[in-house]
């Protein structure tokens, strides 16, 4: 498919570029500028205030000597993988469910999307209570007579990270549902008719035909979720404060702690540069593959 380039008058083009200027300036100064500035600060010995001395890689050495930072990185990988997969699967299933022309669709859609509209600072606290063994589910089970029931993940060193997954999947699934639902609604009725004539079971149509066609929606959802993983902070602060101990620490919290409470802007900047590099290392190949796929799609 090729679209013939429509020759636009030069003046109009200039106007378009002019209109883009504010955004370009924002991107240049607010995003790129601050990235370079952070990079510079990460080579300084800044404490409460940014300073411009030069300490070489000292902050990075200290960073990778820091047990909590390494644990944060490990946690965000585990959390991120589980969170993205679970949210995509559940979001997709919810979208398919609503796509069955169920009753009260509007209401259900609102119900599923609602968690995303609420601040996690508030809902995280509620999750904390629900999961707390002395107050929440475990306590209720005990009172119902199941004395041996145990659900104390949130106070368990090894399991606490999964409670974060549960709570944030609850929050984000609705968003994925909304995105995929609009994708599903965009699929041609003719395809369904053809599949019915060929006698293909519905689940098979969803998996083999519809899912590949949802590619763009899925990749949008993936990017949004990926960003949520990198900035994971409010859920951790509201639910576990990084604990028990340091078991649920994440990089964003590490950076915020050092930036403000611990008055070490230098180390915080070094940590954010490492986080940025990690994100780029994951996102760049994906972006490359996508743009190549898009280009070959256009050429064919």
């Amino acid at each position: 498919m090729t679209t013939p380039a429509i020759a636009r008058p030069r003046r109009l083009q200039l106007v378009a570029y002019f209109a883009l200027l504010p955004m370009a300036a924002t991107a240049l100064f607010a995003y790129l500028g601050t990235i370079f500035w952070s990079a510079r600060i990460s080579f300084s010995g800044s404490r409460t205030f940014p300073s411009y001395d030069f300490v070489g890689l000292a902050q990075y050495v200290r960073l990778f000597d820091n047990e909590r930072w390494l644990l944060s990185l490990q946690n965000v990988f585990v959390y991120g993988a589980l969170f993205i997969v679970a949210t995509l699967v559940i979001g997709f299933l919810l979208a398919v469910f609503i796509d069955q022309k169920v009753m009260a669709e509007g209401m259900l859609r609102t119900v599923f999307l609602y968690p995303y509209a609420m601040s996690f600072v508030a809902t995280g606290l509620i999750w904390q209570w629900i999961l707390n063994p002395e107050l929440g589910i475990q306590n209720v089970l005990h009172k119902l007579g199941f004395a041996g029931a145990r659900f104390d993940w949130i106070v368990d060193q090894d399991m606490v990270i999964y409670t974060l997954v549960i709570a944030t999947v609850w929050q984000a699934s609705g968003l994925v549902m909304a995105l995929l639902l609009s994708g599903l609604r965009g699929i041609d009725e003719e395809i369904w008719k053809a599949a019915r004539i060929d006698g293909i079971p519905r689940w098979r149509v969803y998996v083999s035909i519809v899912l590949p066609m949802l590619g763009p929606s899925l990749s949008t959802a993936f990017v949004l979720l990926f960003v949520m993983v990198v900035k994971a902070y409010d859920a951790v602060v509201a639910m576990t404060q990084g604990g028990p101990g340091t078991a649920s620490e994440v990089p964003a919290k590490f950076i915020m702690d050092y930036l403000f409470n611990r008055a070490n802007v230098g180390l915080a900047s070094a940590a954010s540069m490492v986080l940025l590099a990690t994100v780029l290392a994951i996102a760049a190949p994906l972006y490359f593959v996508r743009s190549r796929a898009a280009r070959s799609g256009r050429e064919s």
Binding site: T48, F49, E134, P244, G245, F260
Partner: protein, 413 residues
């Protein structure tokens, strides 16, 4: 309109304004950033605001929820060139960087005129003085290591008197446990773990070791058997907390003592606000003791206001007036009575304070019992890393030896 008329009009206006200014001195405006937002706290800070307004000032309140958030906003406003007239910090090393960068005005005149050197405890003075200049006005003393206990819970467990030693305290906790109560109401957040550790450290390690570790960063002391024992004894408390403790807020833990479900909480004296808002009275419903026995050290912490450098001359005047008002005896007592702290000066009438505060004020008059809070001796950075070390030791199955090594390593810097 001709030029002459315009000129005349402007002149007249200017004269009128000048006359007005001479007649009614506009009040000295002071923008004050602080993090006192709960019921008791805002009642307390209102005492200062009222006193300042009465003294010819105009208090512009900038209350920000959360201490970290409040300090971050202060920092940002100072860097951004929109410094407040005064801002709250803990009486600690949190604002030392500000002093070194020359961003704070000193209040030497006020301090000398009011004899701060004579009326305030040494630990407080050490925290606010740099190179002989006073860089903050301390407003309260909080002792972060009080023991609050529920009298009904102690009765239920058959405990007759307040423990006089750490061993006796552990025995009491065991009795509370046997009586089916949560012995120690504990909030498993890093700062709460740290203040509990510091309480035990000051108590069982003694002031000498405490100062050698925190102030002198003495590696020999850090690697000593005595310090290892402190870690071991701290960890023994773990057997007396409930499973729901990780992540719990301090006030939720206090509520457990208030309701009699738990026996004791180790917490700063701000916890008294929770008891009094539940209608409980010190000495009747709950008891308080600041350590074991008549010689236990009294850990000194608290809050102070700093005065950032600003362009306007009026701001400096307002800052001096503020420093005066904040530290005046009457405002001090009125504030502490609502805040749960004790006044920063020892020459006040304490009859309006509660039992625990009176006890604290009596103890702090004995210089040998004053001990600076660890945050006065370490940078926020080091304090944070120590929190990481301690939270790992408390929550994980780490040996005291490894925790000791990690602790010593952080202090080495």
């Amino acid at each position: 309109m001709s030029k002459a008329v315009l000129k005349g009009g402007v002149l007249a206006l200017a004269l009128a304004l000048a006359a007005h200014a001479a007649m009614a001195q506009p009040p000295l405006k002071a923008t004050v950033i602080h993090w006192w937002t709960s019921g008791g706290e805002s009642a307390a800070i209102r005492q200062f605001a009222d006193a300042f307004n009465k003294a010819g000032g105009q208090w512009v309140d900038n209350a920000i929820a959360g201490a970290d958030q409040s300090r971050a906003i202060t920092t940002n406003r100072i860097i951004g060139g929109n410094a407040p007239t005064a801002a709250q910090f803990n009486t600690s090393r949190q604002f030392r960087d500000f002093v070194q960068e020359g961003l704070l005005n000193n209040v030497d005149d006020v301090a000398i005129a009011n004899h701060w050197d004579q009326v305030m405890p040494a630990a407080i003075l050490d925290a606010i003085k740099f190179n002989g200049h006073f860089y903050a006005a301390p407003v309260d003393i909080h002792m972060p290591a009080w023991f609050f206990y529920s009298k009904p819970a102690f009765r239920k467990a058959g405990i007759a008197r307040e423990p006089q030693s750490y061993e006796e305290f552990l025995d009491d906790l065991a009795r509370l446990k046997a009586a089916g109560l949560v012995p120690l109401a504990f909030g498993g957040q890093v700062w709460q773990e740290k203040i509990t550790f510091d309480a035990i450290f000051a108590m069982v390690g003694g002031p000498d070791l405490y100062l050698k570790v925190y102030r002198d960063r003495d590696q020999q002391a850090l690697r000593s058997e005595a310090f290892r024992q402190v870690l071991v004894k701290f960890k023994r408390l773990k057997a007396f907390v409930d499973a729901g403790s990780p992540g719990r807020n301090w006030n939720d833990a206090t509520a457990m003592v208030v309701s009699g479900r738990a026996g004791v909480q180790i917490m700063g004296d701000w916890a008294k606000g929770e008891f009094s808002s539940a209608g409980q009275v010190a000495g009747r419903d709950f008891g308080c003791f600041p350590g074991f026995g008549p010689h236990a050290p009294y850990v000194v912490a608290g809050d102070a206001f700093v005065f950032p450098v600003t362009e306007s001359r009026d701001a400096v005047k307002a800052q001096k007036l503020l420093a005066n008002v904040l530290t005046a005896p009457a405002a001090q007592v009125a504030f502490s009575a609502r805040k749960g702290s004790i006044p920063i000066r020892l020459d006040v009438d304490d009859s309006s304070l509660d039992l625990c505060a009176r006890l604290g004020l009596a103890i702090i008059k004995d210089k040998s019992r004053q001990l600076p809070n660890s945050e006065m001796l370490t940078t926020p950075d080091v304090n944070g890393e120590l929190q990481d070390v301690l939270t790992k030791f408390w929550n994980k199955d780490q040996s005291p030896e490894d925790a000791q090594k990690a602790f010593a390593r952080v202090m080495k810097g």
